[in-house]
Symmetry: C2
Subunit: 257 residues, 2 copies
């Protein structure tokens, strides 16, 4: 097994570049940091380009890695450099970046979450993880939403991108296609003129849109929905965190009570 001890190594430089969108698009791969994510990728039959681990992590996990995956033993310094953090677990995988095209005209079932300009990577990842937990079929990342394969998003998704569809798209097209297919699309608004979410019961198919952290849902999208929902604020907070609000609405739609 090749041992890599220097941050100047060309492979290390390439892995570190996967922290940027440009790096991921050029190399058509992204990075998984930590055994939990690597294990989820193995279960999901992801296409591995490399596995990189410190001596200790390699000893613990090499037997579980699929045969034929190039494995590299790395120093703790190299691990910290790839992770962009001081104390990573010390095991990584480089896997193929999904390049899916998905025509919403063919969607006839399941619950879908649409993200409109969600900018915080932790929020994007947590919303995808929550959509998975709530039994949603997919998440569509609209314009100005953080990239699903950015390191902080991948960390917060905790592997959920292996369980449901995670797609990029123009939310206008998705809303139009859903309405064409008679599937309801609910927006969410911080607006007491909208529909209280408790008035909605379960759905087997349709979509929920959540909007930007500061600006809320784009008014052009809000104008196209079947209805817009709001969560009553009972205290003095001005708003809810978007991942919390999304979680409340998603579980309402999926459980129905």
């Amino acid at each position: 097994m090749e041992r890599i001890l220097s941050k100047q190594n060309a492979k290390v430089k390439a892995w570190a570049k996967l922290a940027t969108k440009k790096g991921r698009q050029e190399q058509k791969t992204y990075l998984l940091d930590g055994w939990h994510l690597v294990e989820e990728a193995i279960k999901a039959n992801a296409k591995f380009h490399a596995i990189m681990a410190t001596e200790e992590q390699m000893e613990a996990h090499l037997p579980d890695v699929p045969h034929g995956v190039p494995a590299f033993e790395i120093s703790k310094e190299v691990a910290a450099h790839i992770a962009g953090s001081k104390t990573p677990q010390g095991i990584f995988a480089e896997v193929t970046l999904p390049e899916k095209t998905f025509d919403p005209a063919y969607v006839h079932d399941g619950l879908w979450l649409f993200l409109d300009a969600i900018q915080d990577p932790g929020n994007v990842g947590t919303l995808i993880r929550t959509a998975d937990a709530a039994g949603f079929k997919g998440v569509v990342l609209g314009q100005d939403t953080a990239d699903a394969y950015a390191p902080k998003v991948v960390r917060a998704m905790q592997g959920s991108h292996f369980h449901l569809e995670v797609l990029q798209g123009d939310l206008n097209d998705w809303i139009d296609a859903f309405e064409q297919n008679d599937l309801p699309v609910y927006g969410s608004e911080l607006n007491e003129a909208a529909k209280p979410y408790q008035d909605i019961h379960g759905l087997s198919a349709g979509a929920l849109i959540v909007g930007n952290e500061g600006q809320g849902l784009n008014p052009d999208l809000a104008a196209k929905t079947t209805a817009n929902l709001y969560i009553p604020i009972l205290g003095s907070a001005e708003s809810l965190n978007v991942a919390v609000a999304g979680g409340i609405l998603m579980f309402r739609l999926s459980l129905g009570n």
Copy 2:
């Protein structure tokens, strides 16, 4: 007005130390970063020790600052140093650290959130903000929970600590006192043997406990509750983010449907 241009200035060093628990305990103050928080502190009649702002921010906001608060104009470099971030808004306040004692034996009403070993500052802050939005009366931070006045917690609370009680305490004492006063205490568990949360309806008084991100609720606390609730996981995610789970349960308890 005193102008401070050097990071070596003794006041700047003291403000920067407020990022640490030791610094806050020694100086008995904490830091608010950004006009939104400073404004919430003004509305709440917080005790101000100082207000610090760049020239631009001072011009915009000085008229709204209470009379008699010592004001300091700071350079952008000093602002970044105090904030511990590259591009802060450029306005800060140093305010008195609350030192409340609160005997749970006297609690007879309202909904309360108990945090058991919630370690991530963003989660602690988001849970407090959500408790505020859900109309809760207070939040009690148990052992091993991130400090409420750490900068990342203050940022995520978005001023909610000015709207409800935020206390530290021994959760064992709080549970005992609530049960003594006939107030229900619900734990939350990732355990299908627990009670589905949809079986619970609204409460006007009582408590919800949420537990550590990785370990869940401490079993000794879980054993003392009135009942433990779980949120059904419908997809393949292993769990929910604790702030999302807390939000779903808090709105259920407060809205009742």
